[in-house]
């Protein structure tokens, strides 16, 4: 067993520097690496390129990094819940690359899987397809999308073991598995870190080979964006 355990987010993130490209898992505020985001805020590094499906909300998630102007460029599919994001984008302070959600996921997966590019129909005939190679397959036009990788991928899982094997919970899985594959270095923060052998190998979602550092996070807030309920 190769032991990937580190003490905490500070140790896991110690070599992350200004100007780096970082993937962050999560969909909305669901399944985001809360501990590492707070650590990046505290480190006061800047000029980051962040690849993440969303940009958090004004006062949580990646919104915290935006507030302190630590992000130079965002690569996302949907950024509608964040006023500060919109302000920085419209004023030109923030570079934004909007990518269809499925293409974003597949570009990460491809990056981790050693596939440099692929064709997809998503975005053909739209702004997203402009300047990209077009080819017809079975009579249908597709555009060429290239793989994404990052200096660091930071993911959040429910359970993990010290070998870096990960299990996610519910829809908090989302972008975490494809991003875990695409980081040159991947950090996993988990709610519960266990000894090797305690997770059932049949039930692991991300094999530990993709993970370099793992730690048990603390004080998860797990904020809910849209609390929709049926009154009892």
């Amino acid at each position: 067993m190769i032991n990937k355990e580190v003490k905490n987010a500070v140790e896991a993130c110690k070599d992350i520097k200004s100007g780096m490209t970082i993937m962050l898992g999560g969909f909305g505020l669901c399944g985001i690496p809360e501990n590492c985001i707070q650590t990046l805020v505290n480190k006061e590094i800047n000029n980051l390129t962040c690849i993440s499906n969303n940009a958090g909300v004004d006062d949580f998630g990646l919104g915290l990094l935006l507030q302190k102007r630590q992000i130079k460029k965002m690569v996302s599919s949907y950024v509608g819940e964040n006023d500060e994001f919109e302000r920085q984008m419209l004023s030109g302070e923030l570079e934004v690359d909007l990518i269809p959600q499925g293409s974003l996921a597949e570009r990460c997966r491809a990056g981790g899987a050693g596939i440099p590019a692929f064709f997809t129909p998503a975005g053909y005939g739209t702004e997203v397809g402009q300047g990209k190679e077009v080819r017809k397959f079975n009579g249908k036009p597709h555009i060429l999308e290239t793989a994404l990788t990052a200096d660091y991928a930071i993911v959040k899982a429910w359970k993990g073991d010290k070998a870096g094997n990960l299990i996610y919970k519910g829809t908090a899985r989302n972008f975490n598995p494809p991003m875990a594959m695409a980081g040159k270095i991947t950090i996993a923060e988990v709610e519960e870190l266990v000894e090797p052998g305690e997770l059932n190998p049949n039930e692991i979602h991300t094999p530990g080979i993709f993970v370099q550092h793992i730690f048990q996070g603390e004080k998860y807030e797990k904020r809910i964006e849209q609390r929709t309920v049926i009154k009892n």
Partner: protein
């Protein structure tokens, strides 16, 4: 009388077929799940990573790790499954989902759709919409026939940045059900109860094709 949003959802629910997997977008499409016809089984896919999505949770049982693509708390039904975003869009791109229902700001008479950006005003991003419309064989748009200013949302050509081209097959609005023909044009299939062909014509800027008698929708 023109339909309300629930009425539009009810009419679209009549398009559901037994054993279909269905992706419902945010807004009116979400309401379709409340009107599944009796005697058929369908499963709802939400592109953030669940098949077998159930209703909203009973207050007090909501789970931050269980949401839909609109970031709303939901439940999962027996037989449900969770998966990552790459697998989710494999289902969509690979045409394993039989029906996609989504909203739109504009639809053109050749099936183009615009729903993600108003230049200089609103840029929220496309989310999964571009993948959905480029991949699905069967796409129904659910929307009001006109915008808040009273302008038609059914046009000859979309004026807003496109989400996809030649992809929408059917449009259900508060006034009418229309098929989009491969040769171009909105063919009027049904009218909302009490709405005249003339009213629909006046509210449609694109080419409206009216052939013979156009029945009223039957919505209970």
């Amino acid at each position: 009388m023109a339909l309300d949003k629930n009425g539009i959802a009810k009419r679209i629910a009549q398009e559901l077929r037994d054993r279909w997997y269905v992706n419902l977008g945010i807004g009116i499409p979400t309401l379709v799940a409340n009107h599944i016809p009796k005697g058929i089984s369908v499963e709802f896919q939400s592109e953030n990573g669940i098949l077998g999505m159930g209703p909203f949770p009973i207050e007090g049982t909501e789970d931050a790790d269980l949401i839909n693509a609109g970031k709303q708390t939901i439940t999962s039904l027996p037989g449900a499954v969770f998966f990552d975003s790459s697998t989710s869009f494999s289902m969509i791109r690979g045409q394993h989902v039989q029906l996609t229902v989504l909203g739109a700001m504009e639809v053109s008479e050749n099936g183009d759709i615009a729903n993600w950006k108003i230049p200089g005003k609103m840029v929220k991003g496309m989310g999964g919409a571009m993948d959905l419309v480029a991949s699905a064989d069967n796409i129904i748009v659910a929307m009001m026939h006109t915008n808040k200013k009273g302008e038609s949302k059914l046009l000859s050509n979309c004026s807003l940045p496109l989400t996809g081209v030649n992809c929408v097959k059917k449009v259900v609005t508060n006034l009418a059900v229309m098929d989009i023909l491969d040769s171009g044009g909105f063919r009027l299939i049904e009218r909302a109860p009490g709405v005249s062909v003339e009213e629909i014509k006046n509210a449609t800027a694109g080419k409206l094709i009216v052939e013979g008698h156009v029945p009223e929708m039957s919505i209970s």
